[in-house]
Amino acid sequence: MADKAKKRPLVMKQKIMAQVVYALIPLVVASIYFFGWRSLAVLAVVNLAGFLSEYVFARVYKQQVSSAVFVTTTLFALSMPPTVPLWIAAVGIVFGVVFGKMVFGGFGRNIFNPALSGRAFVYVSFGYPLTSSFIEPVSGFPGGFARWLPELDSLTKATPLIRLSGGQDLPFMDLFLGSTSGSLGETSALLIIITGVILLILKTASYRIVLACFIGYLVPQTAFFFIGLSGVLHPFYGLFAGSLLFAFFYMATDPISSSQTTNKGRWVYGLLVGVLTSLIRTFSSWPEAVTFAILLANMFAPLLDYAFKQAAAKKKAAAT
């Protein structure tokens, strides 16, 4: 048993995935600062449940557990609201890992982003606890490091996203630094941008996808805003509210479920994510649109890859 374990460590080492996990550490620390130690408990439960569900399948497949599963679990945990019941978080990640990834044969073979599959599943199934019990974060020193959870009388029914579309104003610095209510790891725009840009520089995430996402979001959103439709977010505020930045940097760029073979495919895929985000945010009944936008783009990514590969092959054939 012991030397078997030596030959084959339980967890497969994947450099890129490890980089993403390291990049997420500042966000985890920030989530403890803003929302107390309970966020670490959410993270622990989600990691354990996600790891176990991958482990069960990996044993049957005679594979190793991929370190990608920890990216999935951490992303999922950070996208949960601070008061999320632990069992709902566990159900979500088990669904995400099993039906988003393991039924397709494990790492590298999934069609949809597993973290987002889990998130969409719990959002659709348990709407109330996930969308209506956000709390105001703790501020000042020592912040959440001395607390389990921010005081419950700061329970607010709305995230910045909901308040902004209700026409309220919010100080921009709050949105930027992250001292607003919201999901655990998604409130601090500053940290997400810094860690996200580091990932882009390391080429762990594709800058084409991220850039295309932003263009795809900003163009229609600005247009909607200036046409003067009611309830449209200011495009600039919208950028920093909700999970948009987090999802664009960390989830849209997932190398497996995104369009991955051609650069043109990456551009189109990113634009699709951005445009759908803007459309769904503005017109549908879900305040948080990025989740669905990315899943929809995942759904069409293989088709995009196919189309651009065919086109390239045709060009080659015409040239020779």
């Binding site: 497949y61 039906f99 988003g100 069609i111 549908s284 899943l295 759904m299 088709l303 890859d305 196919y306």
Partner: protein, 197 residues
Amino acid sequence: MNGPLFPLAVFFAAIFTSNILLTNFLGMCSFLSVSREIKTSAGLGTAVTFVMATTTVLNWLVYHYILLPLELDYLRFIVFIVVIAAFVQLVEMVIERVSEGLYAALGIFLPLITVNCAILGVSLFMVIRDYDLLSSFTFGLGSGLGWFLAIMAMAGIRQKLAKARVPKGLEGAGITLIITGMMALAFMGFSGMINIG
């Protein structure tokens, strides 16, 4: 909502918010069996779109000018099926005469459409929701395009799936149904955008 833009709203709603396949789960049988290849999916998708748009209009005319005046609307199920089958037959004959190539490309799909429940479903929805002629046309066209979109996405995914290692018990229909479920989950994002009947 009954303004001049209503047909347009119906059109987009039929593609996205109430996609005939991903929210009503109609037309699953051919969706599951034909989505294996992108080219054939495109062929079937086009054929379904065309037949859906035309038969909805035909059925609207039949329903409002023949069945209703004669108070025979309880016969609409049978009559709609007959209209669809007859129309498909006719189209097949015309295509065979006019374009050999297209006929060969569509092959078995044209006759298959006769029994596609989505087509009958669209005609029945049109009656239940009381659309006018123009809205029925946009509804049929939109539903067809929505179905086309869904089967193309599925064909792309299944192409990619060739690289996946799906467990034995889930191969074929099993994994396809799981993917359809995930697609439907993603399409829930559109819910609430446009409301039609």
